[in-house]
């Protein structure tokens, strides 16, 4: 034990096969192993922790071993971590390594839930482990490669010590961790209207100001060329208005949808309240439930199809709920079903939104 008479906090460090010096990709299937004390970057981490904490053990696991069966690997690694009786666990840093970051995140989540001790990792913001696990553990922001080790380690050490001591944390930017998407209410001296005006005045005067809410960035797509031969065009319907078969078989959420539905309308000439409904929670769905054609205009499109104004209405439509659904999810859904529409030979899409 380092330091003087007082007990220091016991830390377990989780790293992958590469940082353990075992090997690179060829050793990525390395099964979980535990070692006393520090391994690899654990040495620097230990030094950064000073007298207050000590790495009592290191658990190593190959990135591919973990990724191949995350549930099984989690259980195995957790057992090894448990044996050290840690007061906190530090994982990585994983920088931008995707499998490593996912493993650190998954283990951090498991440790947090099973052992209830502070957990800290370090990743580059674009590491998929961030998006998946930022809510479960504190992830210090690091550069995208191990060249950032020198800055990441002290930051992670500092944060884990603060968590161990139960100190009140400042904002993510103050403490150096990636925003977790967790909203905390706080009081300000000035009311929101005054703060907004202060920002506005700064903005007009060309002076810097810090927004309290960062807007998502929307990309732009170049307009497609126009349809030249409508009579030979296959049209498909897509909606964000939540029109789904009665009973909402795919359980699309009324807000913050986690999925979209693909529904067959072969032979369906008209949407009625008997067979369809609106599951959207962001508008009064009474009228849409009474007549779903008011949001997904199948009835009139069928008439126009019969008149030959276009070749045909695609036999499937895609539906989700726009209400509170993240831009990320919306993009993901659309990329997926757009590909399906393309594969099915659809030429044009009418998207309806409430």
């Amino acid at each position: 034990m380092k330091g003087g008479e007082t007990m220091s906090y016991r830390i377990v460090h989780y790293i992958n096969q590469f940082f353990a010096g075992i090997g690179g990709e060829e050793k990525a299937d390395y099964a979980p192993e535990s070692r006393e004390g520090v391994v690899g970057p654990g040495m620097a981490l230990n030094a950064s922790l000073g007298d207050e904490a000590e790495i009592v053990g290191t658990v190593i696991c190959g990135d591919t071993y973990f990724a191949t069966d995350m549930d099984k690997a989690s259980v195995e690694v957790l057992e090894l971590i448990k044996k050290f009786e840690p007061d906190a666990v530090v994982l990585g840093p994983a920088f931008n390594a995707g499998r490593y970051g996912s493993a650190c995140g998954a283990m951090g989540d498991a440790v947090s839930k099973e052992l209830g001790v502070p957990v800290v990792s370090g990743m580059y913001p674009e590491n998929p482990g961030v998006e998946m696990y930022k809510k479960s553990l504190y992830i210090v922001e690091t550069p995208d490669s191990a060249r950032g080790m020198g800055k990441a380690i002290p930051a992670m050490a500092k944060l884990v010590l603060r968590l161990l001591k139960g100190e009140k944390l400042g904002s993510p930017s103050e403490e150096g961790y990636i925003e977790r998407g967790i909203r905390k209410n706080m009081f300000f001296e000035k009311i929101a209207a005054e703060r907004a005006l202060d920002m506005f005045v700064s903005k007009i005067n060309g002076q810097p100001f810090t927004t309290e809410y960062v807007m998502p960035v929307f990309d732009r797509v170049a307009p497609n060329p126009p349809i030249m031969d409508m009579k030979n065009t296959t049209i498909a319907l897509v909606t964000s208005g939540g029109i789904v078969p009665k009973g909402n078989p795919d359980h699309i959420a009324a807000s913050s949808a986690q999925n979209y539905g693909e529904y067959d309308i072969t032979g369906v000439m008209d949407l009625t309240s008997e067979d369809y409904e609106s599951c959207h929670g962001g508008y009064d769905s009474t009228y849409a439930c009474d007549d779903p054609d008011r949001v997904l205009p199948v009835d009139v499109l069928r008439e126009m199809e019969k008149e030959g104004l276009f070749k045909k209405l695609h036999n499937k439509y895609y539906s989700s709920v726009g209400n509170g659904t993240s831009v990320g999810n919306a993009k993901k859904f659309a990329a997926e079903f757009a590909q399906k529409l393309k594969n099915d030979g659809v030429d044009a899409v009418i998207v309806t939104s409430t």
């Binding site: 126009p226 030249m228 208005g241 009064d284 009228y287 104004l309 276009f310 899409v349 939104s353 409430t354």
Partner: protein
């Protein structure tokens, strides 16, 4: 793609290039105060605009108003 949307500013913000303004949030393609035939006429009108928009060359985001 043509976006038939009630809230045109949102459609513009997210980047739709061909936009047809719809009737109202709870009934973009209808009007519960009208008869079914009148509603179908409204739907028809909007869908014809949608088809016209799909056949129109545009260089930038375009809202196809009446």
């Amino acid at each position: 793609m043509v976006h038939c949307a009630t809230i045109v500013p949102i459609s513009l913000t997210v980047g739709a290039n061909r936009i047809v303004p719809a009737v109202a949030i709870p009934h973009p393609f209808g009007d519960p105060k009208k008869s079914l035939d009148e509603e179908k006429a409204i739907r028809r009108h909007l869908l014809e605009k949608a088809l016209a928009a799909l056949q129109t060359e545009v260089q930038e985001q375009t809202v196809f108003k009446d």
